[in-house]
């Protein structure tokens, strides 16, 4: 199985997935790997010019949010990020169950602009509750929490592009 994936992974997709996973779990904001004439550059947020792609004279832009192929493996189930102190600082991700984006798309906090958000920080939720929507290609996919508990941190903004496996929010399980 792994050999088969190696043979077909001409675009370093498995490496990109690994790096996205890494960047999503740490404070690292940018990773640049250069090997011979190849260059792989991943940065949290924004867009990255890739000068070695098909049009070197006019660098194209590749959005990291679209790197997950249709048949890619599901993201890690959840991650536990240890808190360094009892109370987390603003900008610091608190300990808990992290809900990851199961698909690439646009994150929405409510069913429509005129509706209230599904959840807000401090809310108590049940397992199966909807915590947001990711839209991609006219699919409005409601993200259901797999655990019940308290929403301690929302890591994405409304109408923000999200990447496959990107942390969306942290739940303190009951």
């Amino acid at each position: 199985m792994s050999e088969e994936r190696k043979d077909t992974d001409d675009f370093w997709l498995s490496a990109v997935r690994e790096l996205l996973h890494l960047i999503g779990h740490t404070d690292i904001t940018e990773i640049l790997i250069e090997r011979h004439e190849s260059r792989l550059h991943i940065k949290r947020g924004g867009t990255i010019p890739l000068p070695t792609m098909e049009a070197p004279a006019v660098p194209p832009v590749l959005r990291a949010s679209n790197l997950a192929p249709l048949g890619s493996s599901p993201p890690q189930h959840h991650l536990h990020i240890p808190a360094s102190a009892a109370g987390s600082q603003p900008g610091e991700v608190p300990d808990g169950y992290t809900i990851l984006a199961p698909m690439v798309g646009m994150f929405y906090e409510s069913p429509s602009p005129r509706d209230a958000p599904f959840v807000q920080e401090g809310d108590e939720i049940q397992a199966g509750d909807t915590v947001g929507i990711i839209e991609a290609m006219k699919i409005m996919n409601e993200i259901e929490s797999e655990v019940g508990g308290r929403v301690v941190r929302i890591l994405v903004k409304n109408a923000q592009p999200v990447e496959y496996g990107q942390p969306l929010m942290v739940i303190e399980p009951r």
């Binding site: 192929p69 993201p75 290609m137 409005m140 409601e142 496959y164």
Partner: protein
């Protein structure tokens, strides 16, 4: 836009299902004279429907609160058009693969219309059905997922069969109906039966892992590719040439400066 009278073409489960010959869908059909939205009715059924009635087809002659993308209202004319939702629990599908359900619906709609009417529709990315460069049908998918599986999905479709929106309705894109193009009324029953057969075929293929085949069929129907377009996204407007689609289904657009943009959600307009 003229309204095509006559055409007493009631839709009822026995007539829809009789001798249909499908294997995976629909397992049940519910027809209503009027509902708020077939999407809402289908979602209500999904809450307590036993597995043996799913996928379930919900049809209505009239919607009082039909909707499209971003809760935009969907216009319709009572008894003239096809308004339906298909409720399912495709637990075998990973969330990242959910776009395949939209491709499935777009391809099935084009094939069903072609088989029934002889017309050859194309798709505007990602899934508006066009005839003569005007919108004849719209699709919407609402779903729910855990991190690993699509736990439920409702596929909604509005197909303008015998009536298109009147001129006084302000639309974002030009629209039409099948009867206007053909110049005669169109029966809804053979159309919905043909659509179901096509949906069944592609749903079964998708279950069997034939994603690449479905992607190829969808991509081949995209009229957007090669066109200069403007895309309205939640974060702004992007203009350029729609070069191709990625395996994920995202639209690859190259702007005037040569930069490439990958679009996962937005409204596409020809420039």
């Amino acid at each position: 836009m003229p309204d095509h009278p006559g055409c007493p073409d009631p839709l009822a489960p026995p007539a829809i299902l009789h001798g249909l010959g499908t294997t995976a869908l629909p397992r049940s059909v519910r027809c209503y004279p009027q509902v708020g939205s077939t999407m809402d009715v289908a979602r209500e059924h999904l809450q307590d429907a036993p597995p043996d009635v799913l996928p379930m087809l919900v049809l209505a002659d009239e919607q009082t609160d039909g909707r499209g993308r971003m809760q935009r209202p969907w216009w319709d004319a009572r008894g003239k058009n096809l308004l339906f939702s298909l409720a399912m629990r495709p637990l075998w599908l990973r969330p990242a693969q959910a776009p395949a359900l939209v491709w499935m619906a777009g391809v099935a709609l084009c094939e069903g219309i072609a088989e029934t009417t002889g017309l050859w529709p194309r798709l505007k990315w990602p899934n508006d059905v066009l005839l003569d460069e005007k919108k004849v049908a719209g699709l919407l998918l609402e779903s729910g997922s855990s991190e690993h599986a699509v736990t439920w999905a409702v596929l909604g479709c509005g197909l303008n069969v015998n009536a298109g929106p009147p001129p006084d309705i302000l639309l974002r894109s030009p629209s039409t109906c099948l009867a206007d193009i053909l110049g005669c009324p169109v029966l809804r029953l053979p159309l919905v039966r043909s659509l179901l057969v096509r949906l069944d075929t592609w749903y079964t293929r998708l279950q069997n892992g034939e994603h690449a085949r479905l992607f190829g069929a969808w991509r081949a129907l995209l009229a957007t590719l090669g066109q200069e377009v403007q895309v309205e996204t939640a974060t702004g407007v992007v203009a350029g040439c729609a070069e191709d689609v990625e395996p994920s289904g995202a639209l690859r657009l190259r702007d005037a400066a040569g930069a490439t943009h990958l679009i996962t959600a937005g409204d596409v307009f020809l420039v």
